[in-house]
Symmetry: C2
Subunit: 323 residues, 2 copies
């Protein structure tokens, strides 16, 4: 009987559910609305229903399911299987998600932090599939992270490892949402990049983004990159600073766990080579001359399914599969 692993990726709006085989090949997927305000019991119940329907629709045997993996934004106690809190689902406090999933689906469940699990997905079959040591950044509203050393995802003593966006780049610099000053996230997340551009325009900088800011009263990181491509000088300056901060972040994590590959993911990588090349340029400018570094800096390859695939990989890793 073909073994099946279920991956579940909690988002603020939708929860994606995927069925995977032992080689992490996606067999089928679906989604349900998160509707976090209906509470955890309702959500887990709807996930259970949707998973059963997905299995039945695809003529897959429920008994073939080996384990269920789940990724979500939030703080976790992984040993206890508890979601302590979540930025997307404010009413979810100290929810025993692992037990609830295990009880509802009737198979062993495992849970994890979204950025960590997206890292695991890229490690298993994306940008990190051929290495043993990688560091992963996801550039969105914030900067999430993941660290794999010697083939193992690092969780840390308090299941809070790889909060890499909160490495301090400029002591006493910009205030971050976390309460620190000068975090990488306060400069180089998609949101912070857009915010820095808006602040500069408000402070009087000339830019082709100005009319857009007046019209919409806000600009996005996508706007910044579009105007960069069109040759806007402010967009270039803002992107330069983003790339410099990300390069310094790469140097800091390189001197930490010495990864073979550093992988960037998230909406912001749509900026493409113009961003990646700048990061590499600053990395080469600021890295030590004591030895030649061979670390590869690249973009993720799995797109929005990284979390779903990572959740399935988490499930697969939780089971000892006889050879």
């Amino acid at each position: 009987m073909k073994k099946i692993f279920v991956g579940i990726d909690f988002g603020g709006t939708n929860v994606k559910i995927g069925l995977f085989d032992s080689d992490l090949k996606l067999l089928a997927k679906t989604s349900v609305e998160t509707k976090a305000d209906t509470g955890p019991e309702s959500l887990i119940d709807r996930i259970g229903d949707a998973t059963e329907k997905l299995l039945a629709d695809n003529k897959l045997d429920r008994q073939a399911v080996q384990a269920v993996g789940m990724a979500a934004a939030g703080q976790f106690d992984l040993t206890a299987g508890i979601m302590i809190s979540s930025p997307n689902m404010h009413s979810f406090k100290n929810v025993p998600l692992r037990k609830m999933l295990t009880d509802r689906i009737g198979k062993p469940a495992v849970i994890g932090n979204d950025a960590n699990i997206a890292c695991l997905g890229e490690f298993a079959c994306g940008a990190g599939k051929d290495v043993e040591d990688m560091v992963f950044f996801t550039l969105g509203t914030g900067i999430g992270g993941g660290i794999v050393t010697n083939g193992t995802l690092v969780n840390g003593a308090n299941d809070n490892a790889a909060e890499l966006g909160h490495i301090i780049i400029y002591p006493d610099g910009r205030v971050c949402g976390c309460g620190q000053h000068g975090c990488a996230e306060a400069y180089a997340s998609a949101s912070s990049t857009a915010k820095r551009a808006a602040e500069a325009i408000t402070a009087g900088a000339e830019s082709s983004l100005e009319s857009l800011l007046e019209e919409k009263s806000e600009i996005t990181c996508k706007d910044v990159y579009e105007h960069l491509e069109a040759g806007d000088e402010l967009a270039k300056k803002i992107t330069d600073e983003t790339a410099k901060v990300l390069a310094l972040l790469c140097i800091d994590v390189l001197h930490g766990t010495d990864p073979q590959r550093i992988v960037f993911a998230g909406g912001m990588i749509a900026a493409g080579d113009i961003l990646l090349d700048k990061i590499k340029e600053y990395f080469n400018k600021y890295i030590w001359s004591m030895k030649t570094e061979t670390v590869e800096i690249c973009f993720a390859t799995l797109g929005e399914d990284a979390g779903l695939i990572g959740a399935a990989e988490l499930a697969r890793r939780s089971i000892v599969i006889p050879a």
Copy 2:
């Protein structure tokens, strides 16, 4: 028969050799002069002789030796067992130390970087003996590091993990010996701390250290701490900056692998609580407010034998001991 593990710690002047039992209890130790200019063959031969004599003198059976672990400053290819280069032993280039030790002593040998191995020693039976995740800093001429996650020492893709002194604290800041700008090491190693004090005095700062600098034409980190205790304002300012940099370094590594304990070692910890308390004060000032951190920041407990003990632990870990 009692099992014996040999630990060897290479220093620039002396090589320490220790015999340990399965519980890492030191049975006997000795040392030989390094005399690096006589070359690796001569050194390994003298180490072999000294080890045999140490066993014989203590009526220990050579056959009881299970494995040999060795720590040294330098760049390594751990998979190949090769010392690529060493700052203390300039003539040692691409030396197959593991094979040479194995051949000479007739037992399996393992090698590792000195700061990493001192970290392993503190982890096995020092300041980290009751945790699973720790980060280690050694404050001397430079700042070395070590990372243990989930009970395992992190080596990295190029056996170059935990070069934590080269995490950049101030981009475009002071030049570091490594070629980067603004490394923690360029501010907060023992040497850099003394150097900053001397620079400030030369630039005209008032200090009770001034006459000492004129007299000896240099000052040490120990001098700075002595004058700090005596109430010198400049010594206070210099120590403050050292503590701030070390605190920022603690925050950065906390957001990396999320250790339960951060351990400082090296000559500089002789400064005592006056330094440790300042580091904690800055840590609490600069750490995020998003969640309460429980990481413990403390001093190492094994003193100068950390490397020797770590080398024996490395040997012990290389052997699967039947329960």
